[in-house]
């Protein structure tokens, strides 16, 4: 007997093939290829200007690559090239099967509407039309990201930085996406808040069997969350492998430099 779920997990969810992006003579990203499987967390590390964010934007269909292609296995099991999707399909994908966690929560949240409506927006966008159920689901998600449900009617502008980031995560996960993109989700948070957020993300990822592409310059974040690491420099992937392998036994001089520039505890 064939285990259908296992078969599903054996096929890549997201495939990047020879992705490049250049702005005039400047190549921001060159020849990046990889496959991401369901439930897998991939960290993209590198210093500022190494092409991490450009790559993330291409993967999430927000930027058209100059060369190469990104394909995604949709919920119906068909793998499709992102550029072949219509705008309506891409936007639908973005608010159902995908999540995107911005570094600055103000970009990913509606700061002027209540937390409940922020979480409920995606549900309403896919046609939920029952206030009671939307509110119950929103309150359930606030609990899961450790936000006091008494604050469900407060606008995120009254929230602290850490709470905003957790709210942004709840807002993204409410439609049970299979793939989440994260752009420096812990940037700008203090260390203890960072630790709590990472802990939360790690348990949610395991619980929901999420595939994640996380961009970070913080190797500690990569070590804690990811299964695999890609190191970028000057728009190229210079090293890739299992997280512990890359971080404990770096092969490339640049990776060695990155790893050794972490202050010893």
């Amino acid at each position: 007997m064939v285990d259908q779920a296992a078969l599903e997990n054996d096929q890549p969810l997201l495939v990047a093939e020879a992705l490049s992006k250049s702005y005039g003579r400047i190549a921001a990203c060159r020849d990046v290829s990889f496959s991401l499987y369901p439930g897998e967390v991939l960290a993209i590390v590198g210093e500022s200007g190494s092409g991490k964010s450009t790559l993330l934007q291409m993967l999430s269909g927000q930027l058209t690559p100059s060369g190469g292609q990104v394909s995604y296995r949709m919920r119906d099991g068909v793998t499709r090239d992102l550029t072949s999707l219509g705008e309506a399909e891409r936007r639908f994908l973005f608010r159902t099967d995908w999540g995107y966690v911005h570094q600055d929560p103000a970009q990913g949240l509606r700061m002027a509407v209540s937390a409940g409506a922020n979480v409920g927006e995606r549900l309403m966008a896919v046609g939920w039309n029952h206030y009671g159920r939307i509110r119950d689901t929103a309150s359930d998600w606030l609990t899961r990201v450790e936000i006091d449900t008494a604050r469900i009617d407060d606008a995120p502008r009254t929230y602290s930085g850490g709470m905003r980031q957790r709210l942004q995560i709840a807002r993204n996960l409410v439609t049970e996406p299979r793939l989440v993109f994260m752009d420096e989700p812990t940037g700008g948070l203090d260390v203890s808040v960072q630790a709590r957020l990472l802990d939360l993300v790690r348990s949610l990822v395991a619980e929901l069997h999420l595939a994640v592409v996380i961009v970070t310059h913080d190797l500690a974040v990569a070590r804690l969350l990811s299964h695999r690491v890609m190191v970028m420099k000057g728009g190229r992937v210079i090293e890739t492998g299992l997280t512990d392998q890359v971080l404990d036994d770096p092969r490339e001089p640049y990776t060695q430099l990155l790893v050794s520039s972490i202050l010893p505890p």
């Binding site: 705008e87 936007r91 927006e121 549900l123 509110r135």
Partner: protein, 294 residues
């Protein structure tokens, strides 16, 4: 030197053609906001420059014009627009809803049922229903194009979360012909059901925002709501103090500084018609009372 200083109905013929093209497109795509080259009018923005341009473009010499402002035929805005067309187009004007062929309105739909020989022209300040939730015009247009209207429910959700019910009382969003979400201009939500399956053509003109949109006759217009918080038309729970009407939209008028108030029909023509037909309310004035006490 007896030649008229203006073209018929003020606007030149080329401008009217341009506006008519926009109107035709708006009728073809119910609820869709058609951009048009709005002109400067001899009145300030916010006083109905959009409505006036639409009226000017559709007005013919045989038309009978009625203009209302908040349901009333005798407020400054209504009178000056009525005089404007009486002067520049020489058309007949009326205050009787039944007799009018073109009714320009600000913030109300007349109480009398409109018929298929009539056109209702709305003055619209802000045509974009999504504006206060999404400030980018490029984004709202894309949302209309892709029929992404989840955001509209976010607004209603916020109402319920804050006040326990949908507190939006005017400019209540509607879905036209099961496709476009539309701002019905700041009419009270009491009037929303009148837009549905209406026999008259409804045209909306926003002068400052340069948009025209339309609801063709007999088109489905549905007010947005939640399953567990359905749409409700609101009116003050009182009869009109002058004509006793129980089902018209009422204005609240403060009569003294001790909490005294009266409720009267906002549609003056409807109220006067009922009074002429012998209906009376609790505060009806002398002629009726003298007769009553004989």
């Amino acid at each position: 030197m007896n030649a008229p200083a203006y073209n018929f109905a003020y606007l030149d013929e080329q401008t009217k053609r341009m506006i008519r093209r926009a109107i035709l497109k708006a009728i073809a795509i119910p609820g869709y906001q058609v951009p048009f080259a709005s002109r400067e009018m001899p009145m300030p923005y916010g006083w109905g420059t959009g409505g006036v341009q639409v009226t000017a473009a559709i007005l013919g010499p045989a038309d009978v014009l009625k203009v209302i402002d908040q349901g009333s035929d005798d407020t400054t805005n209504a009178i000056s627009i009525r005089k404007f067309f009486a002067k520049t187009a020489g058309v007949a004007t009326t205050t009787a809803t039944e007799e009018a062929t073109v009714i320009q309105t600000r913030h109300r739909i007349p109480e009398a049922t409109l018929h298929d020989k009539q056109v209702l022209v709305y003055q619209v300040p802000i045509p974009e229903p999504l504006r206060f939730l999404e400030p980018r015009e490029t984004e709202t247009r894309r949302m209309h194009a892709l029929a992404e209207y989840g955001l509209m429910h976010v607004k209603l959700y916020e109402d319920i979360a804050r006040f326990g019910h949908i507190s939006t009382a005017y400019a209540y969003p509607v879905k036209v012909n099961a496709r476009y979400v539309m701002d019905p201009s700041p009419t009270p939500k009491f009037d929303n059901p009148k837009m549905d399956n209406c026999a008259a053509l409804q045209l909306f003109g926003a002068g400052r925002e340069k948009r025209i949109y339309a609801i063709p006759p007999y088109t489905q217009v549905v007010s947005l709501d939640f399953e567990d918080h359905p749409f409700e038309a609101y009116r003050f729970n009182a009869p009109c103090a002058l004509c006793g009407a129980e089902n018209s939209y009422l204005d609240e008028i403060v009569t003294d500084d001790k909490g005294g108030r009266m409720f009267v029909c906002s549609d003056t023509d409807y109220c006067e018609g009922r009074q002429a037909a012998g209906h009376h309310g609790a505060l009806s004035a002398a002629p009726y009372k003298e007769k009553a006490h004989g």
